[in-house]
Amino acid sequence: MAIPYKKQYVKSDGRKLNRSGPRDMQARTVGSYTPDTSMVELLTNQLTELRAEILAMKSRSGDAAPAGFFSPEQVDEEIRKAVEAAVAESAISFKGDTKNADMAPLVHEYKKQIVELQRGNDNLTKLHASITKESGNLKEKIAKLEAEMVDVVELKKQIAVLEQELVGKGEMVEMLKTRPAILEGEIFTDPDRPQMEQVFVDPLEEDAGKGMKATINIETVVKDEEVGDKVNKLKDLLGKLPNK
């Protein structure tokens, strides 16, 4: 059924429809077509030949598909193989997912250990840095000590020289000690040298205080202690009074 439409129709936007519909276009195409009969004939002959060849092949190999083509059975076979392969692949993927679920805690644990190891590694890095620094300091100290050791050796040599010089001085000191020497305002002499006897004269007259008459009352206090125990302890510790 043809669809009538008005020629020279002016649309609402002002355009005029003039010989531009589909049938106008078809008419223009058909009108300009000039069939090439020789070509058509050639192609028709080739088709005929090919059809005859296919039929001959079919008659030789039964249902077998011609070379370069799949038989329906082969296509079916290939599809089945492909489906099986796809199923197998999806099964493996599924198994893998299942295993992943079972391994989750282990993986979590491994991840934690990895974090710990990373931390440990960081610490070791820091330790290494500090040890390197400390090592530098120690090397400096060792260098200083080695320098001081040189000084010590030098001082030992000087001491040895001084000790050598001191030999025989002891006798000289002993000899000098026998001479009077003033020390802190007091004169010390050789203990063997005769010394002035210390004499103390009582400034009181012989009868001083003889006419005195005392009226004195003195209270006594008795302490509740055992003198004997203390004396025994003192004898153990001291024996007798020091002569000082």
């Binding site: 005195m212 005392a214 004195i216 003195i218 209270e219 001291l238």
Partner: protein, 332 residues
């Protein structure tokens, strides 16, 4: 056990120690201060004697007719007459310049001890050589020994601070530092296993406090002394006198301990190495003040000593510790 006698001859107090019947120590104390009253007439003499007897004062009638009030009452009498009591000892020792006092001293000692039988051991305390004054310790030691010999005793001197060690450091093996805060001086001794290594004295003590506080407040040192001996609280002063006394107490404690530190550092090479802390014993009349040990502790925390001080403790009886040490020494 022999019956030796101990005698502490202090500037302010004479303390005799003997052993009683039951083997317990017996102490007799007499303040060695005196005040002479010279009567103007025979009538006056009789009335003075009556008054002294009525007031139960201890006194001596001298051959020249005068009266010598002795002991505690001498201070009271001196204050009544706006005067100062005399002492036979000055800064812990007798002096030929005070020879008028010597008969009184002899009489006071004789009253304390009684006569010896010529064979009785007597150990008496003597001060150590002062580091801040010049006076003759040897003269004092020899004269006292002579007087005690005349009284019938075989007298032997012992250092005052060492006597404290004999009394108070027996449980510490006679190792420690002893300080005797007396009236005339402060005696110090460092003892190691019974060996007195360092002995010295300083001359700022109780009398210094009395004189300094008296000068500061323009009052008699004897009055300051009586007030002081009625009881001092170094952390709580109720009167102006007590306030002044507390101030000078602080000065004496600081001066003494700084000098102890100075002497110990100076004599460091003579001292053994004290590996452990040693006790410090405080004795003498000044230590009776409340808060005394605390003040010593405070000052010690500010100074460095070559010896570590452990316990700081007062002697069992600060007034009799020296005499007790002398008594124990007299038994050896």
């Amino acid at each position: 056990m022999s019956k030796g006698v101990g005698l502490d001859i202090g500037t302010n107090m004479l303390v005799a120690a003997t052993i009683g019947e039951e083997g317990k120590p017996v102490f007799k104390m007499q303040r060695d201060a005196f005040y002479r009253i010279v009567p103007k007439s025979e009538v006056n003499r009789n009335s003075i004697k009556k008054a002294l007897t009525k007031r139960a004062f201890n006194f001596i009638e001298d051959s020249d007719g005068s009266f010598v009030v002795v002991g505690e009452e001498a201070l009271e009498t001196a204050i009544e007459r706006n005067d100062v009591a005399k002492r036979p000892l000055r800064r812990g020792v007798i002096s030929p310049k005070e020879k008028d006092s010597l008969p009184m001293l002899k009489l006071l000692i004789e009253n304390l001890l009684g006569k010896g039988n010529g064979d009785t051991n007597l150990v008496y305390s003597v001060p150590a050589k002062p580091i801040d004054g010049i006076f003759d310790i040897v003269y004092h030691t020899e004269m006292m020994g002579g007087y005690l010999g005349q009284m019938g005793y075989r007298a032997q001197p012992v250092n005052e601070a060492f006597a404290i060690a004999l009394s108070e450091l027996l449980d510490e093996g006679l190792t420690g530092i002893c300080l005797s805060f007396g009236a005339g001086m402060v005696n110090t001794a460092v003892i190691h296993q019974g060996d007195p290594l360092v002995e010295f004295s300083t001359t700022r003590a109780g009398d210094f406090i009395d004189i300094a506080a008296g000068n500061a407040l323009d009052i008699s040192p004897s009055l300051v002394q009586l007030e002081k001996e009625s009881g001092v609280d170094l952390n709580n002063h109720e009167t102006k006198i007590m306030e002044a006394v507390a101030v000078y107490y602080g000065s004496v404690i600081k001066y003494t301990l700084e000098n102890v530190a100075f002497e110990l550092i100076r004599r460091k090479k003579d001292l053994p190495i004290f590996r452990e802390e040693v006790s410090m014993i405080l004795s003498g009349g000044l230590t009776l003040a409340k808060g005394f040990s605390g003040k010593v502790r405070d000052v010690l925390s500010t100074i460095e000593l070559p010896i570590k001080i452990g316990e700081i403790k007062k002697a069992g009886d600060p007034m009799t510790a020296v005499a007790n040490g002398c008594l124990l020494a007299a038994q050896l």
